[in-house]
């Protein structure tokens, strides 16, 4: 049993595939793990390094959870997040926490207590909410509720949970009686969509402009870099305000949504373009690119086989890192009232709703979406950082 393969005597049997009997010894296990490392592609190596970073892995699972909850938002939400799903009986209602036990004993099925509200002479004509501890609304899973289209095309009316006898608002309701729980998940989805469209627009622009700039160089590069710098100098907030002023107020929510994404993309591209250009410039001068050219490879072949694969990992990292800025910009825009507006559910709109003393004093549950917002941005930042470290192992003290 030899542990090291003899380079002078190639073992042809092993190259043909997996039909080789391998005796499992420590040495062979070790050898296979090494072989796995040696035959690992750059992508696999990046993934292996990424997995070792705990913070990034936690962030990645948080991110995955948030993205999935965004995708399945209609299914997770017991109520329609728009005005159509408002609960007139329970405006500005406090969160109802599902429980298993109360003074009347325990049950296996979670329930919430029924709520009664009253406005009368006795309450000085203000709404007063009283919890009726004797009446339980049981929570059922996979209940039928408002109709929606999953992924935009599968018509469904099943929801993860609901209280068919009454209502359940886990995160409470807003002043119109809309369920904040449902709104939050829809808002995450909207913000992710705006971010994705924004990043995509920015990315396509960056790839084309940065790509032309980096590949051709010379005066084309100089001119394009001047334009890029010019765009970079435009301050974001005044530009947002100007554009928002141009936006006709009669635009529908969808149109508004599209324009916001467009603006974000148009402002976001210069940074990305610069990075694409830098990657191209460094990779283009690598000797292996010259080697390919010397065997007669066309520009197309060089770009496809060498340049693109060489920076896809970096580009993915850049995209992930620029994502939270898109979400932040959208939020900022909506927050100052220039972006999306109620009744569209976006994180920015939800954030805007917390800007009153009334909320701070009386309706603190409005802040729950803020927690999700912070989690989303943090998750993106950590995943982006982790990916960057994994893609570029020499950035830290490894060597």
């Amino acid at each position: 049993m030899t542990t090291t393969p003899d380079p002078m005597k190639p073992n042809l049997a092993q190259t043909t595939g997996p039909h080789v009997q391998v005796v499992e010894t420590d040495a062979s296990v070790e050898r296979r793990s090494k072989e796995a490392y040696f035959t690992a592609s750059q992508g696999q190596l990046i993934w292996a390094r990424f997995k070792k970073q705990r913070a990034a892995m936690i962030a990645a699972s948080v991110l995955l959870f948030l993205v999935l909850s965004g995708i399945f938002a209609p299914f997770l939400s017991p109520y329609n997040p728009t005005i159509a799903g408002k609960n007139d009986e329970y405006t500005n209602g406090a969160p109802q926490i599902p429980m298993f036990c109360d003074t009347n004993g325990c049950s296996l099925r979670p329930f919430v207590h029924a709520v009664e509200r009253e406005r009368s002479m006795a309450t000085n004509f203000r709404w007063v909410t009283t919890i009726n501890e004797d009446e339980r609304h049981y929570i059922y899973f996979f209940v039928e509720g408002w109709e929606y289209k999953l992924f935009g095309f599968i018509p469904m009316d099943t929801h993860l949970f609901g209280a068919p006898d009454g209502f359940v608002h886990v995160f409470g309701t807003d002043d119109a009686g809309k369920d904040i729980f449902s709104r939050t998940f829809h808002a995450i989805w909207t913000s992710l969509q705006v971010g994705t469209i924004g990043v995509l627009i920015a990315f396509v622009l960056a790839l084309v402009i940065g790509g032309i700039s980096g590949y051709y160089g010379g005066w084309i590069d100089s001119v394009l870099q001047m334009i890029t710098d010019a765009v970079r100098t435009v301050p974001a907030i005044p530009l947002f305000m100007a554009v928002a002023a141009f936006m006709p107020p009669e635009l529908s929510a969808e149109e508004r949504f599209f324009y916001i994404s467009l603006i974000l993309g148009l402002i976001g591209w210069p940074t990305l373009a610069r990075r694409v250009r830098t990657h191209l410039l460094t990779e283009r001068n690598q000797e292996y690119v010259l080697a390919a050219q010397l065997c007669g490879a066309s520009s197309g072949h060089v770009i496809r086989r060498h340049l693109l694969p060489s920076f896809t990992s970096y580009i993915i990292v850049d995209l992930v890192i620029s994502f939270p800025y898109m979400v932040l910009s959208e939020t900022a825009l909506s927050f100052i009232g220039l972006g999306l507006k109620d009744p569209v559910n976006s994180l920015g709109v939800m954030l805007q709703n917390v800007t009153s003393a009334d909320v701070l004093l009386n309706y603190q549950w409005y802040f729950i979406p803020v927690i999700f917002f912070i989690a989303l941005v943090m998750a993106f930042v950590f995943v982006g950082d982790g990916l960057r470290d994994a893609a570029d192992p020499y950035s830290d003290n490894n060597k």
Binding site: T4, P7, Y37, R49, P393, N397, N398
Partner: protein, 331 residues
């Protein structure tokens, strides 16, 4: 002769994604004042890492074993280099008692500061120099290493100098603090042969004049023959042979040293075939058991080479080798 630096049982590993990688394995040597030690080895032999350890200069992921000990004998008594922690303590060795010159001179000059300013800063960091005195001494040093028009060069930036001049300026800067020990990490490898010859000459003159100890790291046995008093040969982190330069070059004992010498193309006999050391240098992940060289050795004596790490044997009073084929000669 007084000892300048003592290295005992230096073992150094790096923590990497692929696990702990041994870079230096139980290396001991000592160097006297005014002595030039050639540290010879190929890539991955751990020669640079060993030298950096002398200044406690290795990256954060380096792990020293507790047995490792490096003692530097300064004017103020012995210093345990590996126990130094704070920047103030480390200043004693870094740039103070020990200086280092590199293969790539640009690496030791900040691009945006003039050469003179850097030299003055370094002097003032390590000694009590007025601006005027520091400048005078710096120009004198530049002049001393053969830089023409030193006063003008003093105000220039590193990129304005040619490769050979840069190397000279770096040597001037390293020597201006009058270190006891100079570590030269492949200082001539990136230079053309004609410039290399000039730099070697310069180094020889400087040793004679400043009387410091030099650790000269190189993979070129010719350079070693021209500069060193004694030679230590390293392979995969092990010190496999050490002795006076004439002994090691004329009468190499370790099969690896013999192989290295045989692999050199010789100018006086063009017909002699080139004999490579067979095989490839193992990857650091596949460190051989027993004698680290057994995978490429032509003189393997049975299983003992594969299983047992050879201890250092004394061939004569000064010549030591780590190989199973020799028996220790009683001193």
């Amino acid at each position: 002769m007084t000892a300048l630096i003592d290295v005992q049982n230096l073992t150094l590993k790096f923590r990497t994604d692929e696990g702990l990688i041994t870079a230096v394995d139980n290396v001991s040597f000592s160097l006297n004042k005014g002595e030039v030690m050639g540290l010879v080895g190929e890539s991955g032999s751990g020669k640079s890492v060993t030298a950096k350890a002398l200044m406690h200069l290795n990256a954060k992921n380096a792990v020293y074993t507790p047995e490792s000990k490096i003692t530097l004998h300064t004017d103020k008594g012995p210093v345990d280099v590996l126990s130094l922690r704070t920047p103030r303590e480390l200043n004693i060795v870094r740039g103070g008692a020990v200086s280092m010159i590199f293969q790539e001179p640009m690496a030791s000059f900040a691009p945006a500061i003039t050469i003179g300013k850097q030299m003055v800063e370094q002097l003032q960091l390590h000694g009590d120099y007025s601006n005027e005195k520091a400048k005078r001494w710096s120009i004198e040093m530049l002049d001393r290493v053969g830089i023409s028009d030193a006063a003008k060069r003093f105000d220039q930036y590193a990129f304005e100098l040619s490769g050979g001049m840069r190397q000279r300026a770096m040597i001037a800067m390293a020597l201006s603090t009058q270190p006891k020990l100079l570590i030269a990490d492949e200082p001539t490898t990136a230079l053309d042969v004609t410039i290399q010859a000039q730099v070697i000459d310069l180094m020889k003159d400087l040793v004679a004049e400043f009387h410091m100890g030099i650790v000269f790291i190189t993979h070129d046995l010719g350079v070693v023959a021209q500069t060193a008093d004694k030679v230590n040969v390293m392979y995969l982190g092990r010190m496999i042979e050490e002795g006076p330069v004439r002994e090691v070059i004329r009468n190499p004992k370790h099969p690896y040293t013999q192989g290295l010498l045989a692999a050199l193309p010789k100018l006086d006999d063009l017909d002699s075939p080139l004999t490579p050391v067979p095989g490839d240098i193992p990857s650091p992940l596949e460190r051989p058991t027993g004698c680290v060289f057994h995978t490429r050795c032509s003189k393997v004596v049975g299983d003992v080479c594969k299983a047992v790490e050879p201890a250092e044997r004394r061939i004569d009073a000064t010549h030591k080798v780590s190989c199973h084929i020799y028996d220790e000669v009683p001193a």
